[in-house]
Symmetry: C2
Subunit: 139 residues, 2 copies
Protein backbone atom coordinates (compact mmCIF):
# COMPACT_ATOMS: atom_id res chain seq x y z
CA UNK A 1 0.00 0.00 0.00
CA UNK A 2 2.63 2.49 1.05
CA UNK A 3 5.61 2.85 3.26
CA UNK A 4 5.57 2.26 6.95
CA UNK A 5 7.33 4.70 9.22
CA UNK A 6 10.64 3.28 10.35
CA UNK A 7 10.29 0.73 13.07
CA UNK A 8 13.22 -1.47 13.77
CA UNK A 9 11.76 -4.39 11.95
CA UNK A 10 9.17 -4.70 9.24
CA UNK A 11 6.52 -7.20 10.20
CA UNK A 12 3.39 -8.53 8.55
CA UNK A 13 1.39 -7.17 11.46
CA UNK A 14 2.60 -3.59 11.09
CA UNK A 15 2.05 -3.66 7.36
CA UNK A 16 -1.45 -5.10 7.68
CA UNK A 17 -2.50 -2.52 10.26
CA UNK A 18 -1.04 0.35 8.29
CA UNK A 19 -2.64 -0.83 5.07
CA UNK A 20 -6.06 -1.09 6.66
CA UNK A 21 -5.95 2.44 8.05
CA UNK A 22 -4.77 3.94 4.79
CA UNK A 23 -7.21 1.98 2.67
CA UNK A 24 -10.21 2.93 4.78
CA UNK A 25 -12.14 5.96 3.61
CA UNK A 26 -13.08 6.75 7.19
CA UNK A 27 -11.59 6.74 10.71
CA UNK A 28 -11.48 3.27 12.30
CA UNK A 29 -11.86 2.04 15.85
CA UNK A 30 -9.11 -0.14 17.29
CA UNK A 31 -11.53 -3.05 17.13
CA UNK A 32 -12.31 -2.35 13.49
CA UNK A 33 -8.62 -2.24 12.71
CA UNK A 34 -8.23 -5.59 14.41
CA UNK A 35 -11.11 -7.15 12.51
CA UNK A 36 -10.01 -5.80 9.15
CA UNK A 37 -6.29 -6.47 9.55
CA UNK A 38 -7.04 -9.97 10.78
CA UNK A 39 -7.97 -10.70 7.19
CA UNK A 40 -4.28 -10.51 6.36
CA UNK A 41 -2.88 -11.78 9.67
CA UNK A 42 -5.51 -14.08 11.16
CA UNK A 43 -4.19 -14.52 14.68
CA UNK A 44 -3.51 -10.78 15.07
CA UNK A 45 -3.75 -9.62 18.67
CA UNK A 46 -5.49 -6.50 19.95
CA UNK A 47 -2.34 -5.74 21.93
CA UNK A 48 -0.37 -5.53 18.71
CA UNK A 49 -3.01 -3.24 17.24
CA UNK A 50 -2.70 -0.87 20.19
CA UNK A 51 1.11 -1.03 20.13
CA UNK A 52 1.18 -0.23 16.44
CA UNK A 53 -1.39 2.55 16.74
CA UNK A 54 0.78 4.16 19.38
CA UNK A 55 3.90 3.90 17.23
CA UNK A 56 2.11 5.33 14.20
CA UNK A 57 0.83 8.24 16.25
CA UNK A 58 4.28 9.00 17.59
CA UNK A 59 5.60 9.31 14.07
CA UNK A 60 2.57 11.41 13.10
CA UNK A 61 1.57 8.85 10.49
CA UNK A 62 -1.94 8.58 11.88
CA UNK A 63 -3.98 10.69 14.25
CA UNK A 64 -6.79 10.00 16.66
CA UNK A 65 -10.33 11.15 15.86
CA UNK A 66 -12.33 11.71 19.04
CA UNK A 67 -16.10 11.90 19.13
CA UNK A 68 -18.11 12.67 22.25
CA UNK A 69 -18.66 9.63 24.44
CA UNK A 70 -16.95 7.23 22.07
CA UNK A 71 -13.71 5.34 21.73
CA UNK A 72 -10.97 6.88 19.61
CA UNK A 73 -10.88 6.25 15.89
CA UNK A 74 -7.77 6.56 13.73
CA UNK A 75 -7.08 7.93 10.28
CA UNK A 76 -3.99 8.99 8.30
CA UNK A 77 -2.54 12.21 9.65
CA UNK A 78 -1.97 13.79 6.25
CA UNK A 79 -5.61 14.75 5.74
CA UNK A 80 -6.21 18.47 5.75
CA UNK A 81 -8.65 20.24 8.09
CA UNK A 82 -12.04 18.63 7.90
CA UNK A 83 -14.97 17.45 10.00
CA UNK A 84 -16.98 14.31 10.66
CA UNK A 85 -20.35 12.80 10.02
CA UNK A 86 -21.59 9.92 12.12
CA UNK A 87 -24.39 7.68 10.92
CA UNK A 88 -26.84 6.99 13.73
CA UNK A 89 -27.76 3.63 12.27
CA UNK A 90 -24.48 1.93 11.33
CA UNK A 91 -22.44 4.14 13.68
CA UNK A 92 -19.68 4.60 11.15
CA UNK A 93 -17.89 7.93 10.99
CA UNK A 94 -17.16 9.61 7.68
CA UNK A 95 -14.93 12.52 6.77
CA UNK A 96 -16.63 15.66 5.56
CA UNK A 97 -14.35 17.63 3.31
CA UNK A 98 -15.74 21.10 3.60
CA UNK A 99 -15.65 23.49 6.52
CA UNK A 100 -17.94 26.47 6.94
CA UNK A 101 -14.91 28.51 7.96
CA UNK A 102 -15.13 31.61 10.07
CA UNK A 103 -16.87 30.98 13.38
CA UNK A 104 -15.49 34.01 15.21
CA UNK A 105 -18.95 35.49 15.46
CA UNK A 106 -20.01 32.64 17.76
CA UNK A 107 -17.43 33.49 20.38
CA UNK A 108 -18.34 35.70 23.35
CA UNK A 109 -16.37 38.92 23.56
CA UNK A 110 -13.11 38.57 25.43
CA UNK A 111 -12.75 34.95 24.38
CA UNK A 112 -10.04 33.90 21.93
CA UNK A 113 -10.98 31.30 19.34
CA UNK A 114 -8.13 28.99 18.39
CA UNK A 115 -9.80 25.97 16.87
CA UNK A 116 -13.11 24.27 16.32
CA UNK A 117 -14.70 20.90 15.74
CA UNK A 118 -17.94 20.14 13.94
CA UNK A 119 -19.70 16.81 14.15
CA UNK A 120 -22.71 16.02 12.02
CA UNK A 121 -25.18 13.28 12.86
CA UNK A 122 -27.72 11.56 10.66
CA UNK A 123 -27.97 8.76 8.12
CA UNK A 124 -25.20 7.82 5.77
CA UNK A 125 -25.84 7.18 2.11
CA UNK A 126 -26.45 3.46 2.54
CA UNK A 127 -28.59 3.78 5.64
CA UNK A 128 -30.67 6.62 4.15
CA UNK A 129 -31.96 4.52 1.28
CA UNK A 130 -32.59 0.93 2.20
CA UNK A 131 -34.20 0.39 5.57
CA UNK A 132 -32.41 -2.94 5.89
CA UNK A 133 -30.82 -3.24 9.33
CA UNK A 134 -27.25 -2.54 8.34
CA UNK A 135 -24.32 -4.44 9.75
CA UNK A 136 -22.64 -2.20 12.25
CA UNK A 137 -19.21 -0.67 12.00
CA UNK A 138 -17.20 -3.08 9.90
CA UNK A 139 -18.09 -4.13 6.38
Amino acid sequence: MGDLPRMKRRTRQHQAIYDVIVAADRPLLAQEILTLAAGAVPQLSIATVYRTIKALQETCTIKAVLLPGQNPRYEPADHSHHHYFQCRQCERVFDVGTCPGNLDNLVPSGFTLEDHEIILYGRCCECSTGQEQATRLVR
Copy 2:
Protein backbone atom coordinates in the same frame (compact mmCIF):
# COMPACT_ATOMS: atom_id res chain seq x y z
CA MET B 1 -32.98 28.24 44.26
CA GLY B 2 -35.83 26.49 42.55
CA ASP B 3 -37.95 23.41 42.74
CA LEU B 4 -36.57 19.94 42.57
CA PRO B 5 -38.39 17.40 40.45
CA ARG B 6 -40.41 15.07 42.61
CA MET B 7 -38.34 12.48 44.35
CA LYS B 8 -39.90 10.58 47.18
CA ARG B 9 -38.17 12.67 49.80
CA ARG B 10 -36.62 16.08 49.78
CA THR B 11 -33.09 16.01 51.15
CA ARG B 12 -30.38 18.57 51.70
CA GLN B 13 -28.16 16.62 49.29
CA HIS B 14 -30.61 16.74 46.39
CA GLN B 15 -31.25 20.39 46.93
CA ALA B 16 -27.56 21.27 47.12
CA ILE B 17 -26.75 19.34 43.93
CA TYR B 18 -29.66 20.82 42.05
CA ASP B 19 -28.82 24.34 43.21
CA VAL B 20 -25.20 24.03 42.11
CA ILE B 21 -26.14 22.87 38.61
CA VAL B 22 -28.72 25.61 38.16
CA ALA B 23 -26.51 28.33 39.57
CA ALA B 24 -23.53 27.45 37.38
CA ASP B 25 -23.30 29.37 34.14
CA ARG B 26 -21.63 26.40 32.49
CA PRO B 27 -21.86 22.58 32.36
CA LEU B 28 -20.23 20.89 35.35
CA LEU B 29 -18.36 17.61 35.76
CA ALA B 30 -19.57 15.17 38.41
CA GLN B 31 -16.46 16.01 40.39
CA GLU B 32 -17.13 19.73 40.14
CA ILE B 33 -20.67 19.19 41.33
CA LEU B 34 -19.30 17.25 44.29
CA THR B 35 -16.80 19.97 45.17
CA LEU B 36 -19.29 22.79 44.83
CA ALA B 37 -22.21 21.09 46.56
CA ALA B 38 -19.93 20.01 49.38
CA GLY B 39 -19.95 23.65 50.36
CA ALA B 40 -23.53 23.16 51.52
CA VAL B 41 -23.31 19.51 52.55
CA PRO B 42 -19.72 18.90 53.62
CA GLN B 43 -19.64 15.12 53.83
CA LEU B 44 -21.43 14.71 50.49
CA SER B 45 -20.52 11.48 48.73
CA ILE B 46 -19.72 11.07 45.05
CA ALA B 47 -22.19 8.18 45.03
CA THR B 48 -24.99 10.55 45.96
CA VAL B 49 -23.88 12.92 43.24
CA TYR B 50 -24.11 10.18 40.62
CA ARG B 51 -27.44 8.95 41.98
CA THR B 52 -28.90 12.42 41.89
CA ILE B 53 -27.52 13.17 38.43
CA LYS B 54 -29.19 10.03 37.15
CA ALA B 55 -32.51 10.96 38.75
CA LEU B 56 -32.36 14.49 37.39
CA GLN B 57 -31.62 13.17 33.92
CA GLU B 58 -34.54 10.76 34.06
CA THR B 59 -36.91 13.60 34.80
CA CYS B 60 -35.26 15.68 32.04
CA THR B 61 -34.29 18.33 34.56
CA ILE B 62 -30.67 18.25 33.48
CA LYS B 63 -28.88 16.83 30.46
CA ALA B 64 -25.41 15.51 29.80
CA VAL B 65 -22.96 17.56 27.74
CA LEU B 66 -20.40 15.31 26.04
CA LEU B 67 -17.13 16.59 24.66
CA PRO B 68 -14.64 14.43 22.77
CA GLY B 69 -12.37 12.43 25.06
CA GLN B 70 -13.81 13.89 28.25
CA ASN B 71 -16.11 12.93 31.05
CA PRO B 72 -19.73 14.06 30.86
CA ARG B 73 -20.73 17.46 32.14
CA TYR B 74 -24.24 18.41 33.20
CA GLU B 75 -26.42 21.48 32.75
CA PRO B 76 -30.11 22.32 33.07
CA ALA B 77 -32.12 20.72 30.28
CA ASP B 78 -34.24 23.78 29.57
CA HIS B 79 -31.53 25.56 27.61
CA SER B 80 -32.33 25.93 23.94
CA HIS B 81 -30.08 24.65 21.14
CA HIS B 82 -26.57 25.96 21.57
CA HIS B 83 -22.93 24.98 21.40
CA TYR B 84 -19.84 24.92 23.58
CA PHE B 85 -16.51 26.63 24.03
CA GLN B 86 -13.75 24.95 25.98
CA CYS B 87 -10.86 26.95 27.38
CA ARG B 88 -7.58 25.16 26.78
CA GLN B 89 -6.04 26.69 29.88
CA CYS B 90 -8.62 26.32 32.66
CA GLU B 91 -10.47 23.49 30.83
CA ARG B 92 -13.85 24.92 31.72
CA VAL B 93 -16.65 24.59 29.20
CA PHE B 94 -18.95 27.52 28.42
CA ASP B 95 -22.22 27.72 26.56
CA VAL B 96 -22.22 29.61 23.30
CA GLY B 97 -25.63 30.97 22.55
CA THR B 98 -25.55 31.37 18.83
CA CYS B 99 -25.57 28.73 16.13
CA PRO B 100 -24.49 29.28 12.53
CA GLY B 101 -27.55 27.33 11.46
CA ASN B 102 -27.78 25.57 8.15
CA LEU B 103 -24.99 23.08 7.63
CA ASP B 104 -26.67 21.00 4.94
CA ASN B 105 -24.09 22.09 2.41
CA LEU B 106 -21.41 20.18 4.36
CA VAL B 107 -23.13 16.85 3.94
CA PRO B 108 -22.19 14.52 1.07
CA SER B 109 -25.00 13.77 -1.35
CA GLY B 110 -27.15 10.85 -0.30
CA PHE B 111 -26.53 11.53 3.36
CA THR B 112 -29.30 12.82 5.63
CA LEU B 113 -28.37 15.44 8.18
CA GLU B 114 -30.37 15.21 11.41
CA ASP B 115 -28.31 17.08 13.95
CA HIS B 116 -24.96 18.69 14.60
CA GLU B 117 -22.56 19.65 17.32
CA ILE B 118 -20.01 22.46 17.28
CA ILE B 119 -17.22 22.73 19.79
CA LEU B 120 -14.97 25.75 19.94
CA TYR B 121 -11.54 25.70 21.57
CA GLY B 122 -9.39 28.57 22.73
CA ARG B 123 -8.99 30.87 25.70
CA CYS B 124 -11.83 32.06 27.85
CA CYS B 125 -12.17 35.67 28.86
CA GLU B 126 -10.20 35.30 32.09
CA CYS B 127 -7.45 33.18 30.58
CA SER B 128 -7.10 35.43 27.54
CA THR B 129 -6.12 38.47 29.56
CA GLY B 130 -4.02 37.64 32.56
CA GLN B 131 -1.34 35.04 31.98
CA GLU B 132 -1.65 33.93 35.57
CA GLN B 133 -1.88 30.17 35.76
CA ALA B 134 -5.57 29.86 36.47
CA THR B 135 -6.96 27.38 38.92
CA ARG B 136 -8.46 24.58 36.92
CA LEU B 137 -12.10 23.67 36.65
CA VAL B 138 -13.67 24.79 39.91
CA ARG B 139 -13.57 28.31 41.22
